[in-house]
Symmetry: C2
Subunit: 186 residues, 2 copies
């Protein structure tokens, strides 16, 4: 006899994201997720293969959100017109940092759990296109990797508390961005 579904994959992923941010990766247990969506842990296996697959789903959702934010900035600045490629890169960097500080656990997980290639590709698009505008198509990939690697490493360090030695973090971010763009200028 058919029974109505009591939850959904989307609800499970959403619950996973909430729990991840509040309790960290170790708190992201099948039982915690099940309790939040109102079923027992074994029922989750109807929708996700195992805990690893759930984590990948969560990471994918996080990356999609980040992509949407970056694409939004890209669109705004394009429609406004008159923005230099450097200005676009600066805006993307600020957005990237804002996202990391707003979703620290999800951001860290992006580089721990292996996300689907398509997600990463989409997220890399805006910086990649702004880099092409700044340095030309030939060096675009290398330049985008330079910018992305710096942002990623900086935020990893900021979130991990590696900047405990002092100094102004906002200023360090600004210094890094300025000198990075200077190194890329043609």
């Amino acid at each position: 006899m058919p029974t109505p579904e009591r939850t959904s994959t989307a609800a499970i992923i959403a619950a996973g994201r909430d729990i991840l941010e509040s309790d960290g990766l170790s708190g992201l247990t099948m039982q915690a997720v099940a309790a939040r969506v109102g079923v027992r842990a074994p029922s989750l296996y109807k929708r996700v293969r195992d805990r690893d697959a759930l984590i990948v789903g969560v990471v994918e959702a996080v990356i999609d959100d980040l992509s949407a934010e970056l694409e939004g900035v890209e669109r705004e600045l394009a429609s406004g017109g008159g923005d230099s490629a450097e200005g676009v890169l600066a805006a993307l960097a600020a957005t990237y940092r804002g996202f990391a500080l707003a979703h620290p656990e999800g951001f860290r997980l992006m580089f721990t759990a292996s996300a689907p290639l398509a997600s990463l590709d989409r997220a890399a698009g805006p910086v990649r296109r702004a880099s092409a505008a700044a340095v030309g198509e030939e060096d675009a990939l290398d330049a985008a990797r330079l910018v992305t690697a710096w942002m990623t490493g900086f935020l990893q360090m900021e979130l991990g508390g590696a900047f405990r030695l002092g100094g102004d973090i906002d200023q360090a971010f600004d210094y890094g961005l300025r000198h990075l763009l200077r190194g890329l200028a043609r």
Copy 2:
């Protein structure tokens, strides 16, 4: 009646590092470490508070090794003389990358598990001093953070397979280093 010790903290940490590199963090269990040093899991609690403390000990040992390598490069180039600050930074970056590729799990853990401040401070020394020589004392900390963040992010991405989209990774590293130094040049 006193009994001779059958293991030591040093042996436990060393076993932890081996297991970490071969089986990853999830394989680093108390039982696996105990088996490797020849005791039962409960005996480990005589020397380490819990699994988290063991992980911190492993990370500290990894950072100390990295620090020693970086200091070795610093010493060599100083005694050789005639090396520009940029040359020293390039050599340190190559050493940093070599270490990450040789000990990928340990390297990743450096930014996941929170290491003691003193360890991080020591590891940051060589890049910090080379940066001071390159850009002057006032901007040294910001410049060192720019270089370190880029290296860290780049390697995090390389190890995590975020470069699956193609392109030559060695060339991307070289491109990044060159343009970074260009951005820092006075």
